[in-house]
């Protein structure tokens, strides 16, 4: 239904466009272009700045285009600190190891720490995304389609908790993570994201659309609960899961606060945290900071541009149902 609706006005718009160009439209187009330049400027400045020399980036008159392109900032960024490319710990080993730290059974070659930060960030975002989608899809389905004691209480609780900023509970959360031996692990960032009930709420809204007769029919056919869920419910709420996935991915990528509180050692940092630390340590070395910022921004922007259509759809769908 939506598809037909959007298609029709699009053609009409193009028609109308040819009809008349009002002064207001000229004006608004110019303003929009100026604004767009302003919005794109930070990214432009990060990327060009990362290739400038130390002197020209600190110059008192802005150098709009690098007079000399150098890679020294990147060289410095990559040589500063090293970290293993990956580290696999024995699960829960911190609970029985002598010093309360994880037992690492496999760690990768030493690489620049910034690369490891990127890997951490991607892992963090993808893991939160997958876990959130699985748990929320199941919970949302149950809340929408199962009748059980305590359902409405639970749903009210979820709606209330949704608006709450995570930061409010940072102190107890930190203490909890340290007593679980999860402090300074990527899981300490992931679990609170997964626990955040927005996903459940969203999936409940999507699951309302599953026709009850289909579920009834499946039950009469003797399908198990699991089969009913995977065969009937999942295909129907799939677009919703896609929206939730994109939503969670962006949110966790930008969830600077949790990362700041929970992660501390060089090999555990995420890329945003790494950049923030760079800025704090070398507030004078703008070139280095820009190189770090470029490294943080460019991969996600490439992902965004490649999947732009899905991002837009995901954001919109989340809103329609939310």
């Amino acid at each position: 239904m939506e598809a037909t609706k959007t298609a029709a006005p699009a053609t009409e718009q193009t028609k109308k466009k040819k009809k008349k160009v009002s002064p207001y439209m000229v004006f608004s187009t110019i303003v929009i272009i100026l604004l767009a330049i302003a919005f794109a400027f930070p990214l432009y400045w990060i990327i060009t700045g990362s290739f400038k020399t130390q002197v020209s980036i600190n110059a008192t008159t802005p150098e709009w285009w690098p007079s000399e392109w150098v890679a020294t900032n990147y060289a410095k960024l990559f040589s500063r600190q090293k970290a293993p490319l990956w580290e696999f710990a024995v699960p829960f080993s911190s609970n029985f190891s002598k010093d309360g730290k994880d037992i690492i059974w496999w760690s990768g070659p030493q690489v620049p720490a910034a690369i490891r930060w990127l890997i951490n960030t991607v892992f963090m975002a993808v893991a939160s995304m997958i876990l959130t989608c699985i748990t929320s899809a199941m919970a949302g389905y149950a809340l929408a389609k199962k009748r059980f004691v305590g359902r409405s209480v639970l749903f009210t609780l979820i709606v209330c908790a949704m608006a709450l900023p995570k930061q409010v509970i940072l102190i107890p959360l930190l203490r909890e993570m340290s007593s679980l031996n999860l402090y300074n692990t990527i899981w300490a960032v992931i679990f609170p994201i997964v626990g955040w009930p927005f996903g459940v709420f969203l999936m409940k809204q999507f699951s309302e659309g599953i026709p009850g007769e289909m579920l009834e029919a499946a039950r009469i056919d003797g399908a198990s609960e699991a089969t009913t869920f995977t065969r009937i419910a999942l295909p129907i709420i799939k677009p919703g899961i896609g929206a939730l996935a994109i939503f969670t991915f962006i949110n966790s990528w930008n969830d600077y606060f949790m990362q700041l509180i929970m992660l501390s050692s060089t090999s555990k940092l995420t890329i945003s945290l790494g950049i923030a630390k760079l800025q704090a340590e070398n507030s004078t070395d703008y070139g280095l900071i820009m190189a770090g910022a470029a490294l943080a921004a460019v991969p996600i922007i490439i992902v965004f541009l490649a999947f732009q259509k899905y991002f837009t759809k995901g954001i919109t769908m989340g809103a329609v149902k939310g």
């Binding site: 730290k101 923030a276 340590e281």
Partner: protein, 451 residues
């Protein structure tokens, strides 16, 4: 092959015997007797020889010269591991903006590091006072005490006599001026370039002269955060002979008439700007790129830094002259930095012993000269005072070392006092009444000191 290994081990043992650290022993049989001998001779406590031979320890360091740079620290660690192959040290590099938060969250999270490298204000006055640190009295042998000046020693222990820091290096913080600009403004007449000193009166005249010459941003009382805050304290305390705390380090005295006068004078002076948007590090950048004509956050590491331009010059080649802070009396009291190691009490004797071994190796062995040079500062040991004998700039800078003042950063409530300090400067910058702001600062700081 085997012979070679034991030869290296023996050499290592011999080295440890020579410096009397007695910390090192490996599990090989022949070495053990040597190590026992070492421990009896050096009268080091038994635990540091028998425990701590093999451990994984973590060291967190603040950016103290090149100790904040993994390449140089790795070189030191390689030397360490050549001698103690079974002690594995993981290093984390902290910064001054987030470092404290990081240590505090780690403490709260139950994963504080074993070793930390910083100064007494944190090791003694903050974490030591909170009972988180290990008493290092056993490292402070009589030989050490004889080799380290009394003022440094007293900064490293608390009022009960427990030592929470074993120092490695020190420096005096000073200020710097753009000599070329000063010359152009005819302001060098106010400066004693030979001795690197000036009077308060001359300092103000010089600032005015530079301001009048068209360079309107002469200096900045930076106060966006605590980075480099010793500079703002030093300029204010020195101008009219005020002090930051009382001599016994029990209460904050920044509200004295001398300090109030200094702050008011600075605030009213043309060319001096109370800037709440920059910290010490950013002030240095602005000084280097020619925006500011003097820097209050300076020390020898800045003077010899050659990242952007030749050492001792700004980005466009102007000469930089380091200066003591101006005083009326002619006897500046410079803030010092004393950096060294402290050990967090994580309850693991083995790790504590291994950490002590590490401290002894870095701060008390043949390696010390290299470890000190890595910091780019001066050694705390009198026996190493000629470390930079052939370095002209370092020698020149040594002129300032006698001005090293009271190490008041160990006063209780230091962390809160620092924060309140830059908040106070921000208030003054916003036009608040100086006496009111400073009095409020002292109330806050003294409340923290008492609690």
């Amino acid at each position: 092959m085997k012979k070679q290994v034991s030869a290296i081990l023996a050499a290592g043992m011999a080295a440890s015997l020579l410096v009397g650290c007695g910390g090192g022993s490996t599990s090989t049989a022949p070495a053990e007797s040597t190590s026992t001998a070492a421990s009896t001779e050096a009268a080091a406590p038994a635990e540091s020889t028998e425990a701590g031979q093999a451990a994984d320890i973590t060291l967190w360091t603040y950016p103290i010269g090149k100790w904040g740079d993994s390449e140089s620290v790795d070189a030191l660690l390689a030397d360490f591991n050549a001698q103690y192959p079974d002690i594995h040290v993981t290093v984390e590099y902290l910064d001054y903006t987030n470092g404290d938060d990081q240590v505090n969250t780690a403490i709260e999270g139950g994963s504080a590091p074993d070793l930390v490298m910083e100064g007494p204000e944190r090791l003694v006055a903050n974490w030591g006072a909170k009972g988180l640190m290990v008493d290092l009295s056993d490292l402070w042998t009589d030989d050490q005490k004889a080799d380290i000046s009394a003022s440094v020693e007293s900064a490293c222990k608390d009022s009960s006599g427990a030592y929470y820091e074993f120092p490695l290096c020190m420096t005096a913080h000073c200020m710097a001026i753009n000599k070329t600009v000063f010359e152009a403004a005819d302001a060098m007449q106010y400066v004693d370039a030979e001795n690197h000193t000036w009077t308060t009166d001359n300092f103000l005249k010089a600032v005015q002269a530079v301001y009048d010459s068209g360079k309107t941003d002469v200096g900045a009382i930076y106060c966006s955060g605590q980075g480099g805050d010793q500079g703002t304290r030093a300029i204010i305390n020195n101008m009219y002979g005020g002090t930051f705390t009382d001599a016994a380090h029990t209460k904050y005295t920044a509200d004295s008439a001398e300090n109030v006068k200094a702050i008011e004078t600075l605030h009213n002076q043309d060319g001096i700007n109370f800037d709440a948007s920059i910290n010490g590090g950013e002030e240095i950048t602005l000084f280097r790129n020619g925006t500011l004509q003097m820097a209050f956050c300076w020390n020898i590491a800045q003077q010899t830094n050659s990242d952007n331009s030749a050492a001792g010059t700004t980005n466009n080649g102007d000469d930089i002259l380091f200066m003591a802070f101006p005083t009326e009396s002619g006897d500046p009291a410079l803030c010092g930095g004393i950096w060294g190691f402290g050990i967090f009490d994580n309850g693991d004797e083995n790790k504590i012993a291994a950490s002590k071994t590490f401290i002894n190796f870095m701060a008390n062995s043949d390696e010390t000269a290299k470890a000190v040079k890595t910091s780019t500062y001066f050694s705390v040991k009198n026996s190493l005072s000629d470390l930079y004998a052939d370095d002209e700039v370092m020698n020149e800078y040594q002129k300032l070392m006698p001005y090293l003042g009271d190490y008041y950063q160990v006063t209780p409530g230091w962390a809160e006092a620092r924060t309140a300090w830059w908040n106070m400067l921000q208030q003054v910058g916003e036009g608040a009444d100086v006496t009111t702001a400073v009095t409020e600062f002292c109330t806050t700081a003294n409340a923290a000191a008492a609690g």
